[in-house]
């Protein structure tokens, strides 16, 4: 009954005209960045975050979340019609989605991906409502050692799940922590690593760093090659899947919803992993796995459902524990901090309008996305025809203006360009940006909790293993680290990575 009352409050907030407008703007921008390669949801969120400084936190979060799940919807369009994923979580949709389009079945492919996304998204919101309240109550008993252990485990799981070298990912997480320590020391108030630069006293800004690493670096990478996109010349008719399609995909959608939601909660999991695993499971459970790769509709329905379900699931650690599980959630975390609200177990009691308003807006956003993506698919296809030679200067200009607008200062612009160069080199040399950004955001809180825990224990590290929650969490993290070192586990992991690459 409490949930229904809270949801009613949420709808009262989400249905305010300003919030409806921001929700609409979020899902439109999200679909746009999902459709257009060149800037992903993280870059777009960083770009638009300064524009939300003047509005209430609820509106800001509603828009930013809308960008995220909107991008999950939009990403499938380019995967199906161009065979280029609009964002990373739609990579796997290319395999069967594009084949369906080549066989003249672009309509049902786009249709089932929108329907699956809607069901997955809605399922994850219901899951969020059910799980968040008891988890937040349990989290009230957490102290600094538990938070430190959870954040360490989160970072280790993220580095474990990233593709490529785990050692390199861990290195980037440590670089993120170092970057996060620039500025005033929170405990004693003395400056650290500021090099007498006044602008660094408040630390390095998260927005210029993210815009650089995810927006400018993407443009730099595309500049290296001549980008050509060829939209498949196919008539998109009969967008609604047939009864046979529904029968074939009903269990794929159900499995994708559960899998996506659960993997979304996992630190470092999120939409990308959910879509890949969903595809693998569908292929494994299929009566005829040879159809996969040749236009199997389950290969579109499962992953597209899973990536949207993960977007709702990943809100759970952020809103209940105050720990962002992935980079996108790190952006929402930053938005809350900028607005002076601390995400965590007290959020539901101190700002119920923010929490439940966001949850309710996701219902509305999902309905808006189905309305936007199915009848207006022709419009999105037209957008795909915008040549990259026009898009590239516009993306860079928006990034420059976005960075400048933070403090009306060119210092942030230079920081962004610098990190654009850093991000480009990181991509070239096989270093991942996600652990760096997540550790950068969590670094100050991680340090605060470590120092508080050591103060509590008078300098003894035993406190981290004498309390059950932190002991279990740290043991899991340690085992994950160990699994990357032990030869038989390492081989198994490499085998899984190979299979994923083949898929």
């Amino acid at each position: 009954m409490d949930i229904l009352n809270n949801l009613f409050l949420g709808f009262q907030v989400a249905l305010l005209p300003i919030n409806l407008l921001f929700c609409f703007a979020g899902v439109i921008v999200g679909t746009l960045v999902g459709v257009l390669p060149g800037i992903g949801p993280v870059g777009a969120m960083a770009l638009l975050l300064p524009a939300t400084f003047a509005v209430p936190l609820s509106s800001s979060l509603i828009m930013l979340a809308g960008i995220y799940y909107g991008a999950m919807y939009g990403g499938s369009t380019t995967s199906i019609l161009v065979n280029i994923p609009g964002e990373a979580a739609s990579v796997i949709t290319c395999i069967d989605g594009y084949q369906m389009a080549r066989q003249g079945r672009a309509g049902p492919a786009l249709g089932i991906s929108a329907i699956g996304s809607f069901i997955g998204g809605t399922f994850s919101i219901i899951g969020l409502m059910v799980v968040a309240v008891p988890l937040a109550k349990a989290a009230l008993r957490f102290g600094p050692p538990e938070y430190f252990a959870l954040m360490c485990a989160g970072l280790i799981v993220l580095t474990y799940l990233t593709q490529g070298s785990m050692v390199k990912s861990l290195m980037m997480a440590l670089v993120g922590i170092l970057l996060g320590s620039v500025g005033l020391d929170m405990v004693v108030g003395s400056p650290r690593f500021t090099f007498n630069v006044n602008e660094l006293t408040d630390g390095v800004g998260i927005i210029p760093v993210v815009m650089g690493l995810f927006g400018v670096a993407e443009v730099f990478t595309n500049l290296e090659t001549t980008v050509t996109r060829e939209v498949l010349k196919t008539k998109i008719t009969n967008i609604w899947p047939s009864m046979k399609d529904y029968a074939q995909t009903k269990w794929s959608i159900a499995r994708g919803s559960v899998l996506g939601f659960l993997l979304g909660i996992l630190p470092g999991g999120g939409a990308i992993l959910a879509s890949f695993l969903s595809y693998g499971i569908e292929k494994k459970l299929s009566h005829d796995p040879t159809r996969f790769g040749k236009g199997a509709i389950e290969g579109v329905a499962g992953p597209e459902t899973a990536n949207n379900a993960a977007s709702g699931g990943s809100l759970i650690p952020l809103l209940t524990l105050g720990i962002p599980p992935n980079v996108v959630m790190a952006m929402l975390f930053s938005a809350m901090i900028i607005h002076g609200v601390q995400p965590g177990p007290l959020l539901m009691t101190s700002s119920p309008d923010v929490f439940w308003g966001l949850v309710a807006s996701m219902y509305i956003g999902n309905v808006l996305l189905v309305l936007l993506n199915l009848p207006l698919i022709g419009l999105w296809v037209q957008l795909l025809k915008i040549p990259y030679r026009i898009l590239l200067p516009l993306i860079l200009l928006f990034c420059l203006i976005g960075a400048y607008s933070l403090n009306n200062s060119t210092f942030d612009v230079m920081v962004m360009i610098f990190f654009g160069g850093v991000g480009y080199l990181m991509r070239k040399f096989g270093y991942e940006c996600a652990p760096l950004v997540l550790a950068f955001v969590m670094g100050p809180i991680l340090e605060q909790n470590l120092r508080q825990a050591l103060l509590m224990s008078h300098g003894s590290f035993i406190i981290f293993v004498s309390r059950p929650i932190s002991a279990v969490t740290l043991t899991i993290a340690f085992l994950l680290l160990l699994s990357n070192v032990l030869p038989f586990m390492k081989k198994k992991r490499e085998k899984v990575e190979e299979i994923l690459k083949e898929e």
Binding site: V167, L174, V175, L223, P393
Partner: protein, 150 residues
């Protein structure tokens, strides 16, 4: 030297520099950690991981022959754009938003592959004008003014 070896040496150097700087900040004690405590710990771990990465890369170098990362790519374009963007950030307080942005866009449209000069100039002018009016007039963003007042 392969790329992983080179980058691990780079990160090792960074970790040493940060270790020294953190030590100077003050490590404090375990019961009362100082400002340099956390960065020092992170830098030590970074150094250790760089060494592991270096050793792993040495082992790989014998078995695989990775292609050079920059061969066959248009990387000089990236460097050029990087320098021009930095120059833009330095020049905008003196040249003003509209003039500096117009020239930046001319360069960007051209390097992105727009062939016809009149199209480059037209697109740059229209984009500058629209962006100025949207951000400055509607959203009240304070862009720098040039010496001529625009």
């Amino acid at each position: 030297m392969n790329t992983d070896r080179a980058t691990s040496v780079f990160w090792l150097c960074i970790s040493i520099i940060v270790c020294v700087a953190s030590y100077r900040l003050g490590l404090g004690t375990l019961s009362v950690p100082g400002s340099g405590f956390m960065p020092f710990g992170a830098a030590v771990l970074l150094g250790l991981l760089s060494l592991i990465c270096f050793v792993q890369a040495m082992g790989r170098e014998k078995s695989t022959d990775a292609p050079p990362l920059f061969r066959g790519t248009l990387w000089p374009r990236v460097i050029l754009v990087f320098i021009v963007l930095f120059a833009y950030a330095r020049l905008i307080p003196f040249g003003g938003y509209r003039v500096t942005t117009f020239f930046l866009l001319v360069f960007l449209f051209r390097i992105a592959g727009q062939k016809k000069v009149w199209k480059v100039v037209l697109y740059s002018f229209v984009t500058t004008a629209i962006s100025y009016y949207v951000f400055s007039k509607w959203l009240n963003l304070q862009f720098p003014l040039g010496p001529l007042g625009f």
